[in-house]
Amino acid sequence: MFFNKINLRVAMAAGLLLLMSACSKDEDDDKQINSNNPLSEYVLLGEESTANASVRLYASEDAYVGYNEIAVQVFQPGTDNQLRAVSIQLLPMMDMGMMKHSAPFENPTYNESLGAFSGSCTFIMPSGQMGSWTLAVLLDNEGVRDTLTFPINVVPKAEARLISFESELDSSKIFVALRAPMDAEIGANSFELMIYERETMMAFPAVKNLSVEITPEMPTMGHGSPNNVNPIHMENGHYVGEVNFTMSGYWKVHFMLKDSSGQMVKSDGYFDITFQ
C-alpha cells in the first residue's frame, strides 16, 4: 500500500508536468509538420514542363542501383496548384546504343502525407559508358496525355543494394533489391526485399510466390543472431520480415529463395549491411 501511494503521487505529479508541457508544445507542433514533410528530405532529380503540366521528379536520395523511392508532383503550368487527379505511369529506360531495356517499377499514386505521388523504380545497373538511363513520366489527365522524360544518373552503392542471378530452377533472370533497412540500427530492423524477374527486356514483373529465409551473419566473428523473422510476401513483390542486429559493425544477411512447391530458386544470396 505504501508503495502504491507513492506511485500514485509520483504519477499525479508526472501527469501534471506532462499536461503543462503538452500545452506549451502545441504551437511548435504545427511548424514541425512543415519541416517534417518527408518530401523536404528528398532530392529533386529534375523539373520538366509541357503546355498542360509541369512535373517535378524526386527521389529519396540520389538515384542508385537498387530500389529507389520516387515522388512526382504535377502542377498546373505556371501555378503552385497540384493536379492530383491525373494518372501517372513510369517508364525507366536504359539506352545502350545497340539495345534498350527497362527496369522494375511501381507506378506512383497520390500520397497525402508526402504531398506528392509516390512510387518506385529499381534501377538494375549504373549509368556510365555502357549506356544512360532515362525515366519517363506518362501523364493522363482525363484523356489529355503527356510524356515527360528525365535523364537520370544512376550510381552504384558501395554496398550493393541489388543483386541479380539466374534462377536455379529455370534460369530465368531474378532481381532482388533490398528496400529496408536503409539505416540499420542495433536491435530489430524491418527487413524488406523486392523481388522481380525479367520476362522480356521491357517487362520486369514482381515475383509473388516465393518463400524467403534469411540468416544474418557477422562474418568477421563467425556468428549470427537470434529472433529474426523471415520475410513473407505482402503485395507486388514486397517481402517483409525482420532482422535482428545484436551489435553494430559489418553484417552479411544471407537469403534463400524457394518457390511455392519448395524448389530452390536461389540457395545463397546475400546483402552486406555495415553500420556504426
Partner: protein, 665 residues
C-alpha cells in the same frame, strides 16, 4: 509458502552460533575463529602470522562455510555454502557495492585490504538480521576506525613484506590521530606481484597484479552522545592478470564514500540509531592487449554507480527482549560496453552494450526481534524489499526488443524475507539451535539484461532474460555447541532449497564470442537443493599449545544433475605454540576429491590435495617501537594442486615463502 518442504536431512551438527546472531569475527577478542586474525598491527597470537599479510579473500576463506572462486591470484570471489554473486550480499561498512565487471573480476571484497579490516561479519540466510537482504548469506566487512581519545596522540605503523613465489612486495602504513572530539586514521597499501608459479615450478602466465588502496576514516563528536563519521576508500588496481580468462584488467578503480551519523539519543522506543548516506563509483576496464593469441582485440569498459541511504534503529528494549528496525533506499546504475576492432582495416568497429544502462531502485524495510526467555532464545526477522529495474538507454532497449522482449515496463519485484531462529541452552556446556527462513531475491542485472556475457568457466555466452521471476529460498539449519573450559566443539547442518532457481540453459543461438561453445540463457529452472555440514573443534592443550580443526561438506544439485562450482569436502588442522617472544604455527589443509561435478558447465574432476603451512614470528622492541619479524611458508611441500573452484582448471600457487617486518609507534 510455495516451496514444498522437503524432508529435512539433518546431520549431526552445529554452529558457529556465536553470542550474536551472526558469526561475528572480531579481531581483538577472538575465540574460535582465531584463524581469521586480520589485525596485523597488534597481533597477540601466533595464529595471526599464519595468515597475516595474506590477501583479504584468503583470510576470509578461513571462516567456516566460506570458499573462493578464483580466476587468478587476485580478487577471488567469495562463496558461502556454495552460493555466490547475486545470492549472497557483500557489503563494506554496511554500504552496497555492485561490481562494474560483467565477469565479476571485481567483487566488493577487492576494495578492502587485509591490514585495514576491522572485522568481518557473516550471517547465513537463517541468521541474517533486518539490515541485510542477501538471499543465502550476508557479509559485512568493517574497515578500521579512528578512535577518540582524551589525550592527543599520534600512532604510526609501517609494514613491509616480501613474497618469494611472486617476487611480490607488499607495503603498508597507517597514521592515526586521536583527540577528544576528533580523530582520523589514514591507511595506505601498495602491492605488486609478478606471475606466480605452481607446484611444478611452471609460471602461470598473466597472473601478475599491481594495486594501491587508500582509506581514510574520520570521526567527529558532535555532542557526548552524537557522532558523525566519514569513510573514504580509493582503490586502484592496474595490470591485473586473470589466467582463467581470455583477457586481463588494465584498470579497476573504486571510489567509495559514506557519511554516518550515529546518535545514542532515543528515537521513539529505540535507544540509539544510525543514519548513513553513501555513494560509490566503480570503473573497470578489461584489456586483451597483452595476450598473444587474441582473435580480435576489444575494449570492454564497465561502470557501476551506487547510492544509498540507510537507517537503523537499535535497542528497543523491554524486559530482556530487544527489537531493531532497518530501512534503506538504494539505486544502482550499470553499463558495460564491448567494442571489437577488426584488424583488416576495412570494417568499422563492432559495438554492443553488454549491460545496457540498467538502473535499479530498491526500497527495503525490516524488523528483527531478539526474545530472551532465559535458557530459551528466539529471534524473529521480517523484511520486505521492493526492487525495480529498467534499461535507460535506447540502444540497450533496442537490443532487447530485437530479442523479442517487451521493454516498455520496468521489471518490479516484491521480495519478502522471514526467518525464525530458536536456541536453547541445555546447560552451561551445551547449546542447541534450530532455525528456518524463507526469502526471495530479484535477478541480478546480468541475469536480467546481460547481453552475451562470456563465461570462461563453461565457455558459453550468457544471455539475460528480462522475464525472470524472483528466486525463492527456503532454508533450515540446526546446530549444536559444546564448550567447556579448554574444549570447544561446534557443529551445524543445513539444507537449502531454491525454487525458481535461476540457471543458464542451452539455446540454439549462435555464440557471439569467438570460439565459445554456444549460448545459454537464464531461466527459472525450478528446484535446486543444497545441504551440508560444518564442524569445528578447538582445544587448549597447555597454556602454550593450542590445537584446532574444522571440517566442511556441501552437496548442491538440481533434480537431474549436479550443480557446478561446488566445493569438495574440506578439513584443516592447526597446532600453535608460543614461547616467550616467539610464536609458532602449523596448519594442515586437506580437500577431498570432487566427484560431484558438472562437466557441461565447465567443471572437471578434481583430485584431492593436502597442504602444509608453517609460520613463526618474533616480537621485539627497538626503543619504543613495537616490532615483529615473521616468516611463513605456505604449501611447504610445493604440492601441485588445483582447487575445484578455480576457473578453467588453472593450478594453484606452489610453495610461497613470505618474510615480513613491521613496527608501530
Amino acid at each position: 509458502m510455495k516451496a514444498v518442504f522437503t524432508i529435512l536431512l539433518y546431520f549431526w551438527a552445529t554452529g558457529l552460533f556465536a553470542q550474536e546472531d551472526t558469526t561475528f569475527v572480531d579481531l581483538r577478542h577472538n575465540n574460535l575463529d582465531e584463524v581469521l586474525i586480520i589485525d596485523t598491527w597488534e597481533s597477540k597470537d601466533a595464529l595471526k602470522t599464519k595468515v597475516e599479510f595474506q590477501p583479504l579473500e584468503v583470510q576470509l576463506k578461513q571462516i567456516q562455510g566460506v570458499s573462493l572462486v578464483s580466476r587468478g591470484s587476485f580478487a577471488q570471489e567469495l562463496v558461502f555454502r556454495g552460493q555466490r554473486d547475486g545470492r549472497i550480499q557483500v557489503r563494506v561498512n554496511g554500504m552496497r557495492i555492485y561490481n562494474a565487471c560483467t565477469d565479476r573480476m571485481d567483487p566488493s571484497t577487492s576494495y578492502v585490504v587485509s591490514n585495514n579490516l576491522q572485522s568481518a561479519e557473516l550471517s547465513s540466510s537463517c541468521e541474517s538480521a533486518c539490515a541485510a537482504n542477501g538471499l543465502a548469506g550476508n557479509f559485512n566487512l568493517k574497515t578500521k576506525e579512528a578512535c577518540l581519545s582524551k589525550t592527543d596522540s599520534f600512532k604510526l605503523g609501517l609494514a613491509q613484506q616480501y613474497l618469494s613465489n611472486t617476487r611480490g612486495l607488499n607495503s603498508s602504513f597507517y597514521l592515526e590521530n586521536s583527540r577528544e572530539k576528533f580523530a582520523w586514521r589514514l591507511n595506505g597499501t601498495w602491492f605488486k606481484n609478478e606471475n606466480y608459479r605452481d607446484g611444478k615450478g611452471q609460471e602461470i602466465l598473466y597472473s601478475q597484479n599491481k594495486k594501491q588502496n587508500w582509506s581514510l576514516n574520520t570521526i567527529y563528536r558532535l555532542s557526548p552522545k552524537r557522532f558523525i563519521s566519514l569513510d573514504l576508500i580509493y582503490d586502484l588496481a592496474t595490470d591485473v592478470g586473470y589466467p582463467s580468462l581470455p583477457m586481463d584488467v588494465s584498470i579497476a578503480r573504486g571510489l567509495i564514500g559514506g557519511i554516518t551519523y550515529r546518535s545514542y539519543h532515543a528515537i521513539g522506543p529505540f535507544k540509539d540509531y544510525e543514519l548513513k548516506l553513501y555513494h560509490n563509483d566503480i570503473y573497470h576496464e578489461m584489456d586483451d592487449s597483452q595476450r598473444e593469441d587474441v582473435f580480435m582485440h576489444m575494449d570492454m569498459p564497465g561502470w557501476s554507480r551506487t547510492s544509498g541511504l540507510s537507517f537503523n534503529a537499535f535497542n528497543w528494549e523491554f524486559r530482556r527482549h530487544k527489537i531493531e528496525w532497518a530501512g534503506e533506499y538504494f539505486s544502482n546504475y550499470r553499463r558495460a560496453e564491448m567494442t571489437m576492432f577488426p584488424d583488416n582495416g576495412l570494417e568499422p568497429p563492432m559495438f554492443m552494450l553488454t549491460w545496457p544502462d540498467a538502473r535499479l531502485h530498491g526500497l527495503g524495510t525490516g524488523v528483527s526481534g531478539h526474545f530472551n526467555f532465559g535458557l530459551h532464545q528466539l529471534m524473529l526477522n521480517i523484511r520486505f524489499d521492493y526492487e525495480s529495474s529498467s534499461i535507460t538507454d535506447k540502444i540497450g532497449r533496442d537490443q532487447w526488443i530485437g530479442m523479442g522482449y517487451n521493454m516498455t515496463d520496468a521489471r518490479t519485484y516484491h521480495l519478502p524475507q522471514v526467518s525464525l531462529n530458536y536456541s536453547r541452552f541445555l546447560n552451561e556446556k551445551h547449546q542447541f539451535k534450530l532455525a528456518m527462513s524463507y526469502g526471495e531475491r530479484a535477478p541480478t542485472s546480468s541475469e536480467l539484461y546481460g547481453f552475451y556475457l562470456f563465461n570462461a568457466h563453461d565457455g558459453f555466452d550468457y544471455l539475460g532474460n528480462a522475464n525472470l521471476k524472483a528466486e525463492g529460498l527456503i532454508s533450515s539449519e540446526m546446530g549444536y555447541v559444546y564448550s567447556h573450559q579448554k574444549m570447544n566443539l561446534t557443529s551445524t547442518a543445513f539444507i537449502q532449497q531454491f525454487s525458481d532457481y535461476i540457471f543458464g540453459l542451452n539455446t540454439n543461438f549462435d555464440a557471439m564470442t569467438y570460439g565459445a561453445n554456444g549460448v545459454r540463457a537464464y531461466e527459472n529452472v525450478g528446484i535446486a537443493t543444497f545441504y551440508g555440514f560444518e564442524l569445528g573443534a578447538s582445544y587448549q592443550i597447555l597454556n602454550a599449545w593450542k590445537a584446532q580443526s574444522t571440517l566442511e561438506y556441501i552437496r548442491g544439485f538440481r533434480p537431474q544433475s549436479d550443480l557446478p562450482l561446488i566445493p569438495p569436502l574440506q578439513a584443516d588442522f592447526s597446532l600453535n605454540y608460543s614461547y616467550g617472544q616467539w610464536n609458532f604455527a602449523s596448519q594442515l589443509r586437506y580437500a577431498a576429491e570432487q566427484n560431484h561435478f558438472n562437466s557441461d558447465y565447465g567443471d572437471r574432476y578434481t583430485p584431492s590435495y593436502f597442504l602444509i603451512d608453517l609460520a613463526a614470528n618474533y616480537r621485539f622492541k627497538i626503543d619504543k617501537a613495537k616490532s615483529l619479524v615473521s616468516l611463513a611458508i605456505n604449501n611447504l611441500a610445493d604440492s601441485y594442486y588445483r582447487d575445484h573452484l578455480s576457473w578453467a582448471g588453472i593450478p594453484a600457487m606452489g610453495r610461497n615463502i613470505s618474510l615480513g617486518i613491521k613496527c608501530g609507534l
